[in-house]
C-alpha cells in the first residue's frame, strides 16, 4: 500500500527525519526500509517530532541518501534469527548472516524484549571454574552470574575474555554467544578462525557490530546477541555463556546517538539516559529458574578513571568485577588483575568454603601490607624494614608473581602453553606460599608458572 511509505525530509548524518501521512505513523523502535540501489537501508524510529514527522536513526551508511526518497514502514522492530539454526553462525546486529553461508530462514525474534519477571530469577551460587589462578582465587565467578572485566586501553581485557572463552567455552556443554561491540574487526576475525580450528564454533554464535559500524548498529549489537542467548535460556532451558566485548562501546554508541538526537548531555558528556539504557541491557542478562545466562563483559575504562560514569554505572550491575591494573601490566604481571580492587559475591565462606575464603583474604592482606610499605621502600629502601615486614614483602612479591599465568591465547607472545589450574590446587599453592614453605626460593621462580610443582622444578635449573 502506498500509505506504508513516508518521505525523507531531512538527513543529518545518521539521523533521518521522515514524514508520513497522519494515519500511518510508525511506532517507536519500528524500522523503516529505504531502497538504495540494490541495497536496503534500515532506519529505526527514535522520536515522534510532531507534524507527522518521525526522527529515525540509520542502521547503516546514509551516503547517497537524498531528501524525498521514500521510506517504507515495516511495522516491525529489528528481529534476529533464533534457535538451533543459529548455532555456529556469524551475524551482524540486524540478524543478517555475515559468514558467507546460506541465509537462515525460520524463527525470528524482536531484539526488544522485557527483562525476566522478578520471581523467575534464580539465585544460584555455584562456582564456575575458570582455570585462571587469580580469578578463581580472588574473584571466583558464579554460574549464571554477571562478570565484568574492567581495564584501561591495552591492559589485556580482550586477552582475558578470549582466554576465558578458551578455558570455559570449550569445556562448557551449553551454547556460547559472543558479541563483539565496537571493538576491532580483526579481533573478531581472529576469534572466528580460532573457534573454527578448536571446534568450539559448533556450539557458538557470534554477533559482530564492530568499530566501523554506525552508532545505531553498535547500540543494537549487544541486545541482538542477548536475544539469541535468551531464546536458549527461555525456550530450550539451556545454560548459556554470553561474552560481550565491550560494554563501554555500547554506552559510547548510546552517547553518540543521544548527541545526534540533540539531547543535552549529562555528566562527562554522557547521555542523560545512561543508567536506564544500561539497566535495560543488564537486567535482561539474567538467570532464571529455567536456564541461565552467565555473562562475561569487558568494560573499557576511559583514561583509567574508574569514577567515569560509564564504568561506574556498570559496576553496580555485576556480581563479579575483575579489575585490570595498568601498573601491574607495566610490571609484566599478566593477567594484570588487581587482587585488591577485584571483587566477587562468590568470595564468601558459604560459597567457596572456609579454607578458600581464608586463603584469599590472607593474600589480600599481605598484598595490602606490601602496598602500604611501598612508599617506605621507595623512600628509605628495603633495608629499613623490620624483619617481619621484609618477610611480608618477599612473600607478597612471590604471591604477586605466582598470580601470573601463561595464557593459551597469548602463546604467540610468551611462547608458553596455557595452563588450566584447578581451584583446589590454586588454593593449596597459595596457602603454602603464605605459610612460608617456599621462602628460600627466589621470586623469579614463581613468575608465569602454572602449579606449584613447576615452581619447585625450576629450582633445579
Amino acid at each position: 500500500m502506498i500509505n506504508d511509505y513516508g518521505t525523507i525530509t531531512q538527513i543529518m548524518g545518521v539521523v533521518v527525519d521522515v514524514q508520513f501521512s497522519s494515519n500511518n505513523i510508525p511506532s517507536i523502535n519500528h524500522t523503516l526500509e529505504v531502497e538504495m540501489g540494490d541495497q536496503k537501508l534500515i532506519l529505526e524510529v527514535q522520536q515522534h517530532m510532531g507534524g507527522n514527522v518521525v526522527r529515525a536513526l540509520a542502521l547503516g551508511s546514509t551516503d547517497g541518501l537524498s531528501r524525498g526518497t521514500q521510506a517504507k514502514n515495516t511495522k516491525n522492530t529489528i528481529t534476529v534469527p533464533v534457535g538451533q539454526k543459529t548455532i555456529g553462525r556469524v551475524f551482524d546486529s540486524l540478524g543478517n548472516v555475515i559468514d558467507g553461508k546460506e541465509p537462515i530462514i525460520g524463527d525470528r525474534s524482536s531484539v526488544f524484549r522485557p527483562a525476566p519477571e522478578m520471581d523467575y530469577l534464580s539465585t544460584e551460587t555455584e562456582i564456575l571454574e575458570t582455570g585462571i589462578k587469580v580469578i578463581d582465587l580472588m574473584c571466583p565467578f558464579i554460574k549464571g552470574g554477571k562478570i565484568g572485566v574492567f581495564g584501561g586501553a591495552g591492559v589485556g581485557k580482550t586477552v582475558v575474555i578470549q582466554e576465558l572463552i578458551y578455558n570455559i567455552a570449550t569445556k562448557h556443554n551449553g551454547i556460547s554467544v559472543f558479541t563483539g561491540v565496537g571493538e576491532r574487526t580483526r579481533e573478531g576475525t581472529q576469534l572466528l578462525q580460532e573457534m573454527t580450528h578448536s571446534g568450539v564454533l559448533d556450539k557458538t554464535i557470534l554477533v559482530f557490530g564492530q568499530m566501523n559500524e554506525p552508532p545505531g548498529v553498535r547500540l543494537r549489537t549487544a541486545i541482538a546477541g542477548l536475544t539469541m542467548a535468551e531464546h536458549f535460556r527461555d525456550k530450550e532451558n539451556k545454560d548459556v555463556l554470553l561474552f560481550i566485548d565491550n560494554i563501554f562501546r555500547f554506552i559510547q554508541a548510546g552517547s553518540e546517538v543521544s548527541a545526534l538526537m540533540g539531547r543535552s548531555s549529562s555528566a562527562v558528556g554522557y547521555q542523560p539516559t545512561l543508567a536506564s539504557e544500561l539497566g535495560y541491557l543488564e537486567e535482561r542478562i539474567a538467570s532464571t529458574k529455567n536456564g541461565s545466562i552467565t555473562s562475561i563483559q569487558a568494560v573499557y575504562v576511559p583514561a583509567d578513571d574508574y569514577t567515569d560514569p560509564a564504568p561506574a554505572t556498570t559496576f553496580s550491575h555485576l556480581d563479579s568485577s575483575l579489575v585490570l591494573d595498568r601498573s601491574l601490566a607495566s610490571q609484566g604481571i599478566y593477567p594484570a588483575v588487581d587482587p585488591l580492587s577485584s571483587t566477587s559475591l562468590g568470595l564468601s565462606p558459604s560459597i567457596v568454603g572456609e579454607k578458600h575464603y581464608n586463603v584469599a583474604k590472607s593474600v589480600q592482606k599481605i598484598l595490602q601490607r606490601y602496598k602500604e610499605l611501598q612508599d617506605i621502600i621507595s623512600i628509605l629502601g628495603i633495608e629499613e624494614l623490620s624483619d617481619e615486614d621484609k618477610l611480608t614483602v618477599s612473600r607478597a612479591r612471590k604471591v604477586q608473581k605466582f598470580l601470573t599465568q601463561p595464557f593459551q591465547v597469548a602463546k604467540q607472545f610468551t611462547g608458553k602453553d596455557g595452563i588450566f589450574m584447578p581451584v583446589s590446587q590454586t588454593v593449596l599453592a597459595f596457602e603454602r606460599i603464605l605459610n612460608g614453605e617456599f621462602d628460600s626460593l627466589p621470586e623469579s621462580n614463581f613468575y608465569m608458572k602454572g602449579n606449584i610443582e613447576s615452581v619447585l622444578e625450576s629450582k633445579n635449573d
Partner: protein
C-alpha cells in the same frame, strides 16, 4: 573525586617524611663531623700502642694470660658493635654478612667450635641472633665496663678467642665491616712496620718489666675496643647522613611526581566541570 583527596594525603605524608629525613640528615652531618675527629684521635693513639707492641719481642720469659695463644680453639666470643639507631642503610646488613662469613670460615677450620656473643646496642644483638649465635646484650652504662667483662670470660676459659666486629670508618661515603681479634693479643698479627727489637735495647722499665708490659697490653686491649666503638660512631653518622640524603631526594622526587599527578587530576576535573556548565548554558 575521591582520588584527588587520596593523592593530596599521600603528598602531605611524603612531604612530612622528607622533613624528618632532612632533619636527620642535618643532625647526622654535625655528628659525623665530631665523631670523625674522634676517630682520627683514637687512630693515632691506637696506632702508637700497636706499634709499641708490634715492635716488642715477647719471646723472653714474660708470660701473661693476655698473650696466651691457645692452640686449639674450641670456643669463640664475638663482640658485635651495631649502630645505636636505625636508618643507616645497609650498615647492619654489612656487619651481618661479615660476621656470617667469618663464622663459616672459623667453623670450617675448627671442628666442634662453639660460639657466644655480646651485642652492643640492639642492632648488634640482632646481628648475632641472625647468625644463630647464643648471645647476651651488653647492658652496662658505658663501654668502660666492657673490657673487664670480656677479660673475666677469657680468664675463666669461657672462650679461647675474642673477636670484635665493627664498621671501620674510611671516609664520609665509605666504611668497611671488619673482624678483629681482640684476645689473645698476638703481636705477630698486629699491623705495623716496626721491626722487632729486643726489649732491653729500646726501653728502660721501672719499676719492673712484667708490670709495665701487663698494663701496656691491657691498654692496648681497651684501646682496641674504644677504637672499634668510635669507628662505629663515625661510620654510623656518616652513613645515616648519606642514607637520609638519598631518602630526602627520593621523597622529594616522589612528591614532585605526585604533585604533577594531583595537578593533572585537579585540572581535568575543572575542565570537565567548565565543559558541563557551558554545555548546560548553551541549552538554556
Amino acid at each position: 573525586m575521591a582520588n584527588l583527596r587520596e593523592t593530596k594525603n599521600r603528598i602531605s605524608s611524603i612531604k612530612n617524611t622528607s622533613k624528618i629525613t632532612h632533619t636527620m640528615q642535618m643532625i647526622s652531618a654535625i655528628k659525623s663531623h665530631t665523631s670523625q675527629q674522634a676517630v682520627y684521635k683514637i687512630t693515632k693513639y691506637a696506632d702508637k700502642i700497636n706499634d709499641m707492641i708490634a715492635g716488642m719481642d715477647f719471646s723472653y720469659d714474660f708470660d701473661s694470660y693476655l698473650l696466651n695463644n691457645r692452640k686449639k680453639i674450641s670456643s669463640a666470643l664475638f663482640i658485635v658493635i651495631g649502630p645505636s639507631r636505625g636508618f643507616v642503610g645497609a650498615l647492619p646488613a654489612n656487619i651481618t654478612d661479615t660476621l656470617a662469613n667469618f663464622v663459616s670460615v672459623l667453623k670450617h677450620d675448627n671442628k666442634n667450635i662453639t660460639f657466644s656473643g655480646i651485642g652492643i646496642n640492639k642492632l648488634g644483638l640482632k646481628t648475632l641472633n641472625s647468625a644463630n649465635i647464643d648471645s647476651e646484650n651488653f647492658t652496662g652504662d658505658s663501654l668502660a665496663s666492657l673490657p673487664s667483662l670480656i677479660l673475666e670470660k677469657f680468664k675463666d676459659n669461657l672462650c679461647d678467642r675474642v673477636y670484635i666486629i665493627y664498621p671501620k670508618y674510611i671516609n664520609l661515603l665509605n666504611y668497611k665491616a671488619e673482624v678483629k681479634q681482640l684476645l689473645p693479643i698476638d703481636p705477630s698479627i698486629l699491623d705495623s712496620d716496626h721491626k722487632k727489637h729486643s726489649l732491653d735495647d729500646t726501653y728502660i722499665f721501672t719499676p719492673n718489666k712484667d708490670e709495665i708490659l701487663e698494663s701496656l697490653l691491657l691498654q692496648h686491649f681497651e684501646a682496641q675496643i674504644m677504637y672499634a666503638s668510635l669507628n662505629l660512631n663515625a661510620s654510623e653518622h656518616s652513613t645515616r647522613m648519606v642514607t637520609m640524603k638519598n631518602a630526602t631526594d627520593k621523597a622529594n622526587e616522589l612528591s614532585t611526581n605526585l604533585t604533577a599527578v594531583y595537578n593533572r587530576q585537579r585540572q581535568s576535573k575543572i575542565t570537565e566541570q567548565v565543559i558541563e556548565i557551558s554545555q548546560g548554558n548553551n541549552k538554556l
